[in-house]
Amino acid sequence: MSEATKDATAPAATAGAPPAAGTPFTGRLRRPAPYLWLAGSVLLLLFPFYLDRFWLQAGLFAMAAAIGAIGLNLLTGSTGQLSMGHAFFLAVGAYGYCVLAGESSTENGHALTGLGLPSWLAAVLAVLLAGAAGGLFSPIAGRLSGAYLGIATLALIFIGQHVLFNAGSLTGGFNGRPVPPLSLFGFTFDDAEVVVAAVPFQSSEKLWYLGLAALLAGGLFARGVLRGRPGRALNAIRDHRIAAGVMGVPVARYRAGVFVLSSMYAGLAGVLLALVFQRTVPEYFGMILSLEYLAMIVIGGLGSVAGAVIGAAFVSLLPQVLTHYSDSLPLVSAPGTGGIAPGEASRYLYGAAVVAVVLFLPGGIARLKTPGEKKK
């Protein structure tokens, strides 16, 4: 806390100093000072040394969600194409990884098929697989616009749930399947204890850094896309589809392309979620999950990477916070003890947050930090 207040006063003293920062009218260019970034990064890098497993897991969920939300925001926020099927592509990533990396085995009398590939290769292939699944759907995604695509993608959820529950040899059916740990350059992200600076590192601690790296790479890539030629084309399709075509943007091709890209982000999020959960279960990848992702980008801010990350942190950390502090919060209590369960309470809360953002904060929380941009 004390660091934060110290930092908050510092920029006021230095901001006026360099006159070269003279882009007076573009509030968009105003970003938090570099050392705020630095402080934040150092903090994030140090978390595994101080936080317990519960919070590390919560943070990892948020990172995975952020990656998935960045993908959905490319599609829905930046291109105006609604998708209800995001959870399906998360499932393709998660289960794809399990099938590709897992060994064939029997569990509870179920025979599970696994290809036994090196796990790093399986992770890469799982992301590509999610992209390929998006590619299969892209003729539809290219043709339908906005809400119509949203309705069509509902079908993916139903198909996905049916397959997950019934293709037992691939998915393990109702009980799901165990997730093989990831190995990268001979380093395994499992629960075998490694002691770093007197702190025992288990899977959560190790995965933390993998999650950070994946989120950083995913965020930078998306930002590059959005600020470059494809991003302008996508925004043009969202803002004025007919004009986009007339300007030379092949509308259907870009819609299909961004659908594939967003599927790959979902696939990567799915792989990371699977690694954190250590077990994939089918009911997780249902309609509610798709809705949660939509809530994330609406709350955080449509169309920007920062919006996706902020929204993902909000939506996925809220239930964890409520769970952790359920004793001291009024009305909220542990599941089955009479009050509102934390998961349920958080759903009410972010439902309310969605409404509040839509009504009072169009542009999402991400817009809050640049008040200079406010246009009447």
């Binding site: 882009t23 590059g224 470059g228 030629r229 302008r232 925004n235 043009a236 007339v246 943007v249």
Partner: protein, 258 residues
């Protein structure tokens, strides 16, 4: 630019919307490098003509050719790819993007960077963006928007927004430029500027310009040829002077004003 532009030939184009004939066997030819005005009362079918030329509407029958290439039936982005650019009667600008970004969209057909190159910020993509931003600045200077490049286009006054649209079309380095009421809603100053830009474009770039415009003074001054539409039919055509004295045209305009 080594443009030896091709003639734009519109032949017997008919457009029907459920029960309403918006265009009825309309034919005209835009000579290479000329300014061709399309005039007529409200609802005559001028914008519909533009929508057919740019591929937004499909003609019920008839054809449009640019040189030997048939445009009828091509998707809008393919027609744009052949060098046909247009502006819209009612603005079609992104509300939040800056003027520079809006103009950069015009460079789409001339640039290559895809998802991977842009996402990874490959040097090729960065170089391309820098090079084209340079040209965008030039064009913005040419139409008098260099000071507004970093403003959100949606926050500019209406007349300036129309200029941004014109600039965006020019950024496509077109062979044929379709302008739908380019000076409507502008201040006198902006009108003069836009008219000068149109004349300058014709003289320096040698491209063909098709212009829908209600301001007869501007039409008389700029146009080499005029096509007059009324209720979807071509009722007259020729030089501005010929058209001005055509009884059918006088009739259409007086009738419309009455």
């Amino acid at each position: 630019m080594t443009t030896s532009p091709a003639p734009l030939t519109v032949r017997d184009v008919t457009v029907r919307f459920a029960g309403l004939t918006a265009l009825d066997t309309v034919s005209f030819t835009v000579e290479p490098g000329s300014v061709h005005a399309v005039i007529g009362p409200n609802g005559a079918g001028k914008s519909t003509t533009f929508n057919v030329l740019s591929g937004v509407y499909r003609a019920t029958s008839g054809s449009v050719h640019l040189g030997a290439t048939e445009l009828t039936g091509l998707a809008p982005h393919r027609i744009a790819g052949l060098g046909v650019a247009r502006t819209f009667q009612n603005l079609a600008l992104p509300p939040h993007a800056t003027v520079a970004e809006s103009l950069m969209l015009g460079r789409h057909r001339l640039t290559r960077a895809g998802f991977v190159a842009a996402g990874l910020r490959l040097p090729s993509a960065t170089r391309e963006a820098r090079r084209h931003l340079e040209r965008v600045r030039e064009i913005a200077g040419f139409i008098g928007l260099d000071k507004e490049l970093d403003f959100p286009a949606g926050a500019l006054p209406y007349g300036k927004q129309k200029l941004v649209e014109l600039g965006r079309a020019l950024c496509m380095e077109p062979e044929v430029l379709l302008l739908d009421e380019p000076i409507a809603g502008m201040t006198a100053d902006e009108r003069r500027r836009t008219a000068a830009v149109v004349a300058g474009v014709r003289d320096s770039l040698g491209i063909s310009i098709v212009m829908v415009e209600h301001d007869m003074g501007v039409v008389m001054r700029l146009a080499d040829a005029v096509t007059v539409l009324d209720f979807g039919r071509r009722i007259a055509g020729g030089t501005p002077a010929e058209v001005q004295n055509d009884p059918a045209v006088v009739q259409a305009y007086l009738g419309a004003q009455e």
